[in-house]
Amino acid sequence: MPNSPSDTPRRITVQRQGPLLVEGPVEIELEDGSTVASDRFRVALCTCRRSRRFPWCDTSHRARR
């Protein structure tokens, strides 16, 4: 179906600093083959690898001082 919502490209927002923002719902496959899912309207995926809730961003990328 050319106009069905599932054919709409999923938007991913990239930033120089900070998480990848992906329109939900998403299912993420991790390195060990396990999967995690979220049906939030948007998810923030950790790119700094410091998150304690990886693959989800927990704001650990923030500067500290």
Binding site: F41, A44, R53, D58, T59, R62, A63
Partner: protein, 353 residues
């Protein structure tokens, strides 16, 4: 003489199921209570000048006025929400409060500066969440939850009022975040519901308004500020700034509170409430910064100083609350005006053993 629309309604119509009116804390809050019960006149607006803006009496008087817009009070005519005399008195209370907020708040020069400061995590933080993570005992966590229940049982409600005042990207972003706050369409995931579950884990009474009498003036001020910003279209920039400040600071703070809940064995729902906020607010922060603030200032760039004020005023009221809680707790005293019920303490102890 009340100028309400009573003539067209049942003459004795009152809310019966809603929370009880709180105990007054001085002449202004007593007068508002009497007016709501229909047993007394309101003082002249000038009377609001006679009490401290941050004190219990003025804050509770204002809280009662605002609560009519949320759930009302048992035995109070819901039409009093639009009672001109009460609105006139409320305006005088708001004027005092807003002036005190503006006088007490150190504001940044630009939105960028204000946001940038929030995005830096202090290495040696000294806030309430740091105290609770490092030293919090179950009784501290119970008091904190009782204080915060005034907001969290109406979580996201004051912010929903801004939606009709926004459009375009700001409206879409704000509505998306609010949808998430309201559980994404699922009642069991509404954040206010998750907080009620946390309260149950902590042996607290989840009845809406149950801890109003126990809450500090500083807690009332945090909620009054949201209601003030939410109910006035002229303060929509401040509401957006306030919401951004909450969402940006929530994720790291929630992580510390989740750790406090885990360390004290508060219970799975208590942990879940804050774990959910770590994840959700890492997303909300991005949407609020880029879509809501960005979209609002694209449409209405003249609101930038209001956004800054909303961000910095939030920091100010939270600092005042933190100072109150930490002063009492460090002295080994309760932060509440009324002690928490003993039965619930025993239940809570049983739960965690």
């Amino acid at each position: 003489m009340r100028e309400t629309f009573r003539g067209t309604r049942h003459p004795m119509h009152t809310d019966r199921e809603e929370p009880s009116l709180p105990s007054p804390r001085g002449p202004l809050s007593a007068a508002v209570r009497d007016h709501l019960r229909g047993t007394g006149p309101l003082p002249r607006p000038e009377a609001t000048a006679s009490v401290p803006a941050w004190g219990d009496d003025l804050q509770l008087a204002l809280y009662q006025c605002y609560e009519l817009h949320y759930r009302g009070f048992a035995g109070v005519d819901p039409e009093l929400e639009w009672d001109p005399g009460l609105l006139r008195f409320r305006a005088a209370l708001e004027e005092r409060f807003l002036a005190a907020l503006r006088a007490g708040t150190r504001v940044h020069d630009t939105v960028e500066d204000a946001v940038a400061d929030l995005l830096v995590e202090p290495v040696d933080g000294t806030g309430v969440s740091h105290f609770l993570r490092d030293k919090g005992e179950l009784w501290h966590l119970r008091e904190y939850a009782a204080q915060r229940s005034l907001y969290h049982l109406k979580e996201a409600d004051p912010h929903a009022w801004v939606l009709p005042r926004l459009w375009g990207r700001a409206k879409a972003g704000m509505a998306a975040v609010e949808f998430d706050e309201y559980g994404g369409g699922r009642a069991d995931r509404v954040h206010a519901r998750l907080f009620a579950d946390l309260m149950t884990d902590l042996g607290l009474d989840t009845t809406y308004g149950r801890y109003l009498d126990a809450a500090s003036a500083e807690t009332l001020a945090t909620v009054n500020m949201m209601s003030l910003f939410g109910l006035h279209r002229s303060l929509r920039g401040a509401l957006v700034g306030h919401f951004a400040a909450v969402e940006i600071t929530s994720s790291p703070g929630s992580r510390r509170l989740a750790e406090a809940m885990r360390r004290t064995g508060a219970g799975p729902a208590a942990e879940h409430f804050y774990d959910e906020h770590v994840e959700a607010d890492a997303v909300h922060e991005q949407v609020v910064r880029h879509e809501v603030i960005g979209g609002l200032l694209e449409e209405e760039p003249h609101l930038a100083p209001d956004v800054v004020f909303g961000i910095d005023a939030t920091g100010h009221v939270e600092d005042l609350l933190a100072a109150r809680l930490l002063t009492e707790w460090r002295a080994g005293r309760s932060s509440l005006r009324a002690p928490l019920e003993e039965d619930a303490v025993r239940e809570s102890a049983a739960h965690t053993s």
